[in-house]
C-alpha cells in the first residue's frame, strides 16, 4: 500500500453531489497530478459531513481543515497554496456565527456537540470500498455475534440496550426481534425500510450513501438472530445514488464471503436484494411496503396479524428502519451498557436529525437523545439566519406536530416529545421563522396528505380532502368558528378510525398548530387578513 502524506476527502453525498462535487473531485485529482503531487496526495470521495448548506465540502488531512462551498475555480488555489505550500486558504473556511474562522472539526460547534454512533463512518471512509469499512471495524460485530453469541443472546443484548425503532413509531427493537424469532415459519425475512418519504427527512439516504456496509451488517446480525436467510432493502425509487452505492456494497460483501452460503466458514446463509419503490409515501408504512415488495399495489394491510407473525408472503418478517439497523453493529460490538450511557434512561442512544428550513446550518446531525430543541437549533444549527425570529418548529416531518417557542427547552427524545403533544418521528426538524404563516403551512401539510392517501379507507380518503378544503377556506379569510370546530372533530375521527398510520397521524400537525397558534387561526377568521401577510 502506498503511503500518502495527505488525504483530501470530498463529500459525495446527494446534497453535495448536486453542487457538482464530482466535478470538483475530478478537477482536484487532475490539478494534483499536474502539480506532480499524484504520489503524495490521495483524493477520496466520502459520505455526508452534515453541513449540507455549505456544500460542496472538502477536508484536507492530516490537519483536518474544512473548506466550504468549494467551486471549480477554487481548486487551483487549494492545490497551489495548501497542498504545495502548506498555507491555508482562509477565504474558503466556514464563517460561523462568530467572526472567527472555523478550520477543523474541533472549532465547529456544529460538530462539537454531536455524538456519532450511526454516522461514525460517514464523511470518514470511501463508501464504495469495503476495505475501508473493514479497517474501521466493519463486520466485526457480526463476526462476534456469529462466533461468540447464540441468537437469543444477540436478541437479549438488543433488548437490554433499550434501542427503540428510529423509523417513526419507536417500537422497542429487541421485542420485535424476539417476536419474529419466536414466530413459527419455515422461512423468515429481514426487511430494511429505506423508503424515507417523510418530508424533511434525508437521514436514511445519507446513511446509506455514507456507510452502506453498516446496514448490511445490521441485517446480517438480524438474520442470524431471528433465523432468516433472505433480506430485502426497500429503497425509494427517487434515491438513485443510494441504490447504486448499496448495490456495489452488496456485491463487495458477496465477494468477501459476507453474504451468500457458508458465511465466514459457518453454516449460516443469508443474502440481500434491493427492491425500489415507485413514488408512494404510504409504502413507508410497513405492511404497504410488504405488498409493494410482493409486486402489488402499496396499500396497507389490516393489523393484526403483525409482520412479525405474517409478513412477506405470509412468512414471519422483521422490518426495521435504516437508522435502527445502523445502531445494531455498535451495540453488539460495545455492549448494551455502553449504549445506555448515551441519551436518557427511558430513551437511550443517539438520534440523527435532518435540519431544514430557516436555520443557518441545515443538514444532518447526530446527537444524544434528550438534547433540548434550543441546543439543537442555536448551538448546532447556528440559529435563525438573517436576523429573523424563531416562530415554530415541526418535529417528525409533515406527520409530526408543530410547536412554538414556549417549548424550545423540550428534550428531543421519544417520550418527552410525545408528552409535549408532538412526535420525534423520523427525526425531521423543520425550523420556521416569523415571516411565515401557520395556516399557509397547514395547507401545505394537507395537500401532501390528500395527495398521498392511498384511498383504501374512508376516514382518511375523505378526511384528508375535507381538511384541505376547510384549511383553504380559512386561509382565504372566508372561514368561521364552526370551520375550526369541524377541523377538530374530523381530525379526532381520523385519528381513531383510519386504517393505517397515515390517516391516524395526518391530523397531528393540524391539531398541534391549532393548540399552539390558536390566535393566528382566529386572526384569519375575523377578516383581519393573514398576520404574516402570506395568505391572500
Amino acid at each position: 500500500m502506498t503511503l500518502h502524506r495527505s488525504h483530501v476527502l470530498v463529500c459525495s453525498g446527494s446534497n453535495c453531489a448536486l453542487h457538482s462535487s464530482s466535478f470538483v473531485k475530478d478537477r482536484l485529482t487532475l490539478e494534483i497530478s499536474q502539480a506532480g503531487l499524484g504520489d503524495e496526495i490521495r483524493v477520496l470521495e466520502t459520505g455526508c459531513f452534515g453541513l449540507c448548506a455549505q456544500g460542496p465540502i472538502m477536508v484536507v488531512y492530516p490537519e483536518g481543515i474544512h473548506y466550504c462551498k468549494v467551486g471549480l475555480e477554487d481548486i487551483g488555489e487549494i492545490v497551489q497554496e495548501h497542498l504545495l505550500k502548506g498555507r491555508i486558504v482562509n477565504r474558503l473556511l466556514f464563517k460561523g456565527t462568530s467572526d472567527k474562522n472555523w478550520m477543523t472539526k474541533d472549532d465547529f460547534d456544529f460538530y462539537r456537540k454531536q455524538e456519532r454512533v450511526v454516522l461514525r463512518n460517514a464523511g470518514v471512509i470511501d463508501p464504495e470500498n469495503i476495505e475501508e469499512s473493514l479497517v474501521r471495524g466493519g463486520y466485526a460485530a457480526f463476526g462476534k455475534a456469529l462466533s461468540e453469541m447464540t441468537p437469543s443472546q444477540v436478541i437479549q443484548e438488543i433488548t437490554d440496550s433499550g434501542l427503540q425503532g428510529r423509523g417513526g413509531a419507536g417500537f422497542p427493537t429487541g421485542r420485535k426481534w424476539q417476536f419474529t424469532q419466536e414466530a413459527a415459519g419455515d422461512k423468515k425475512y429481514v426487511v430494511c425500510n429505506a423508503d424515507e418519504g417523510e418530508p424533511g427527512t434525508s437521514k436514511d439516504r445519507l446513511i446509506l450513501e455514507g456507510d452502506p456496509h453498516t446496514i448490511i451488517e445490521g441485517m446480517l446480525i438480524a438474520g442470524y438472530a431471528i433465523g432468516a436467510t433472505q433480506g430485502f432493502v426497500y429503497i425509494r425509487g427517487e434515491y438513485l445514488l443510494s441504490i447504486e452505492r448499496l448495490q456495489k456494497a452488496i456485491n463487495q460483501a458477496r465477494e468477501f464471503g459476507l453474504l451468500g452460503k457458508g458465511i465466514l466458514g459457518s453454516d449460516f446463509e443469508f443474502d440481500l436484494e434491493i427492491r425500489s419503490g415507485a413514488g408512494a409515501y404510504v409504502c413507508g408504512e410497513e405492511t404497504a411496503l410488504l405488498n409493494s415488495i410482493e409486486g402489488k399495489r402499496g396499500e396497507p394491510r389490516f393489523k393484526p396479524p403483525y409482520p412479525a407473525v405474517r409478513g412477506l408472503w405470509q412468512k414471519p418478517t422483521l422490518i426495521n428502519n435504516v437508522e435502527t439497523l445502523a445502531n445494531i453493529g455498535p451495540i453488539i460490538q460495545n455492549g448494551s451498557d455502553w449504549f445506555r450511557q448515551i441519551g436518557t434512561p427511558e430513551c437511550p442512544g443517539t438520534k440523527v436529525f435532518t435540519l431544514s428550513g430557516n436555520i443557518c446550518n441545515s443538514g444532518l446531525i447526530e446527537v444524544p437523545m434528550g438534547m433540548t430543541l434550543r441546543e439543537i437549533i442555536y448551538d448546532i444549527g447556528g440559529g435563525i439566519p438573517d436576523g429573523h425570529q424563531f416562530k415554530m418548529a415541526q418535529t417528525g416531518g409533515t406527520s409530526g406536530g408543530c410547536i412554538s417557542a414556549d417549548l424550545l427547552d423540550v428534550p428531543m427524545d421519544i417520550p418527552s416529545l410525545a408528552k409535549a403533544g408532538t412526535a420525534l418521528g423520523s427525526g425531521a426538524l423543520l425550523v420556521v421563522d416569523d415571516r411565515h404563516c401557520v395556516v399557509d403551512l397547514a395547507k401545505t401539510f394537507l395537500r401532501f396528505f390528500a395527495h398521498e392517501s392511498c384511498g383504501q379507507c374512508t376516514p382518511c380518503r375523505e378526511g384528508t380532502t375535507v381538511l384541505l378544503r376547510l384549511m383553504n377556506k380559512l386561509a382565504s379569510g372566508k372561514g368561521d368558528a364552526q370551520d375550526i370546530t369541524n377541523l377538530q372533530r374530523l381530525s379526532t375521527t381520523m385519528q381513531q378510525a383510519s386504517l393505517c398510520g397515515l390517516g391516524q397521524t395526518a391530523p397531528l400537525p393540524i391539531l398541534s398548530a391549532l393548540t399552539f397558534f390558536a390566535d393566528e387561526f382566529h386572526a384569519h377568521l375575523e377578516g383581519q387578513g393573514c398576520p404574516a401577510g402570506v395568505c391572500g
Binding site: 448536486l18 418530508p199 424533511g200 427517487e238 409515501y281 409486486g295 428550513g357
Partner: protein, 148 residues
C-alpha cells in the same frame, strides 16, 4: 429497445418483480402503453387489471404519454418555506404549462412530488434522474433552457 417478453424474462417471470419490470418498460418513453401493460399481464399470466392497478397506484408510472423530460418539483414544507412557490410559477411560466401537463413539443412534463430528501439545499426539483437544489426562479429557468 427490449421487448416485453425479454424484460419479463430478465426478471425471471417473477410477478413480485412487477415494479422493476414496469420501470424498465417505461424508461425509453416515460410512459406505459396499453400494449406494454397487456403484454406484461400475458407474460406473467396475471389479470390485466392487476398490472394496470399497480401501474396506476405509483406516481412514478404513467399510463398517459409524457414528455422526454419529467420535472418532479418538490412541494413539501421545507421547500415551500424556502420559496418553492415562486420557482414553480417561474417554471410554469417558462414552459407555458400547468402541473400535470406536457409541453406541446413533447419535451417537458411537469409534476409535483413530495420531499426529494435534499432539503438541505431546498427548494429542489428533479429533471429525469438529475436533482437540482438551491433553486431560484432564474436558476430554474436557466436549467430548463439548458436541458437538451
Amino acid at each position: 429497445m427490449n421487448t416485453v417478453k425479454e424484460i419479463v424474462a430478465e426478471h425471471g417471470h417473477e410477478s413480485s418483480r412487477l415494479l422493476e419490470m414496469l420501470r424498465c418498460l417505461q424508461s425509453p418513453t416515460n410512459y406505459l402503453s396499453e400494449e406494454a401493460i397487456v403484454g406484461v399481464a400475458k407474460e406473467l399470466n396475471v389479470p390485466i387489471s392487476h398490472v394496470y392497478g399497480v401501474a396506476s397506484f405509483y406516481s412514478m408510472y404513467s399510463t398517459k404519454p409524457r414528455g422526454k423530460y419529467i420535472i418532479r418539483f418538490c412541494e413539501s414544507a421545507p421547500c415551500h418555506i424556502e420559496g418553492a412557490a415562486e420557482v414553480l410559477e417561474a417554471v410554469q411560466d417558462q414552459l407555458q404549462i400547468a402541473v400535470n401537463e406536457t409541453t406541446t413539443d413533447g419535451k417537458f412534463s411537469l409534476e409535483l412530488t413530495s420531499c426529494l430528501g435534499v432539503c438541505g439545499v431546498a427548494p429542489a426539483m428533479m429533471v429525469n434522474s438529475t436533482v437540482y437544489g438551491n433553486l431560484t426562479p432564474e436558476k430554474a429557468k436557466k436549467i430548463l433552457a439548458a436541458t437538451e
